[in-house]
């Protein structure tokens, strides 16, 4: 079996692994690196649960081969923050009930982080547009939108 050796940095930690070219980034993260915070909901790029940050922008990890991430910086939900030191977006989803079953949450969080980087004060329409590629079956999205608004406020207050 043909394998390619790749080097990726995930949540600040460097990894070198040999992977088959057909290895999806989602499986690479979940199975090879055991970073199971990233979820796989459909594997054809529609649900958005597997969304991760790749070189600073979001990517569907199920529509990315791990070999394509060679040399890339990946960030997953595990890298955002911990229970003790949450990222404002995590804090907001927790406080504002931005989740129920939690399966879509990793993708929603990464998408929200990307949005707030580009737009620190998004309107409700901006938020709905940004997360329209992330499906949620539990919440009707309302608390997710409110969580992202609240996260924006937290981040603005924290400010640089």
């Amino acid at each position: 079996m043909e394998r390619e050796t790749i080097s990726v940095t995930v949540n600040g930690r460097a990894y070198e692994r040999a992977v088959e070219p057909r290895r999806l980034l989602s499986d690479f993260l979940r199975e090879d690196l055991r970073l199971t915070g990233t979820h796989v909901g459909c594997e054809h790029g529609v649900c958005g649960s597997c969304t991760v940050m790749m070189d600073g922008v979001t990517a569907r990890s199920c529509l990315t081969f791990a070999v394509m991430a060679d040399g890339a910086e990946i960030e997953t939900i595990e890298g955002l923050g911990s229970v003790e030191a949450m990222h404002p977006v995590q804090q907001a989803f927790w406080e504002k009930h931005g989740l129920q079953c939690g399966f879509c949450t990793p993708g929603m969080l990464m998408t929200a982080v990307e949005l707030l980087k580009a737009n620190p004060d998004p309107s409700v329409d901006d938020i709905r547009d940004a997360i329209s590629g992330n499906l949620c079956r539990c919440t009707g999205y309302q608390t997710i939108v409110e969580s992202i608004q609240y996260a924006a406020k937290l981040m603005r207050e924290d400010g640089p």
Binding site: P21, H44, T58, V67, G133
Partner: protein, 285 residues
Amino acid sequence: MKPARFRYLRAASVNDALQALAENPDAQILAGGQSLIAMMNLRLVKPACLIDINRISNIGYIDEDGDGVAIGALARHNDVKHSPLIRERCPLLTEAYESIAHHTVRNRGTLGGNLCHADPSSETPAVMVATGATLMLQSLRGQREVGAEDFFLGTYETARRQDEMLTEIRLPGRRTDGWAFAEISNRHGDFAIAVIATTLRIEDGRCEAARVVASGVGEHAARLEPAEEALIGGPIDDARLDAAAAAAAGAVDPHSDSHADAAYRRDAIAALTRRTVRRAAARCD
């Protein structure tokens, strides 16, 4: 399901990619992968060899090209969507992007890949045909230009030969004044049920030129010439709108599928033609 096995080649330059294409007749180019990998995951396609062009530098450009725009093979959808140059010189494409996919998919997906994929319900081919774009195809044998109208041949089928790579998309400067894009999809950002991209030129209240291009209702994006003829030669009034809408509906031979049946698609083409022509005409003022 997971993708079937394939050989992976990474191109460092366009020449590299062309070399690989020439040497591997079973190879396919991997650009953003947002359609290709989804289809591979479902095992709808099993390419034996992929040539990854994502590492080629300097082919993601969006540059001035005379009074038009030249777009490199790796320009990502979001770059095109948010390009001020394209908003100025090809606003039809900018408007179409309001309906195309979702942010994360647009981060990776490329315009070039989208055109080569030639999904019959895709929006961008309609814009290319409506604006009269030119596609630059390159191989070790040389380079050739293909007009958008001649590029799309069928469902997932284009004029690109196996050893060719689409290296650049050239959008002409605005030859017409009015433009409008509209689509119906069952859900925002998803597959289109019907698409119309329209461009118009009106001089002294008389429609001098028109392109009415449909997508999602046939094997590929195509001009609806009877509708164009119905518009040209007079003012865009209700009679011309009605005639064009009826002609557009008559000019398509849509299919039925899980998203919509043929009759609905035909009705939708009439409604979208009316809508886009009205809006395009208003923009001529």
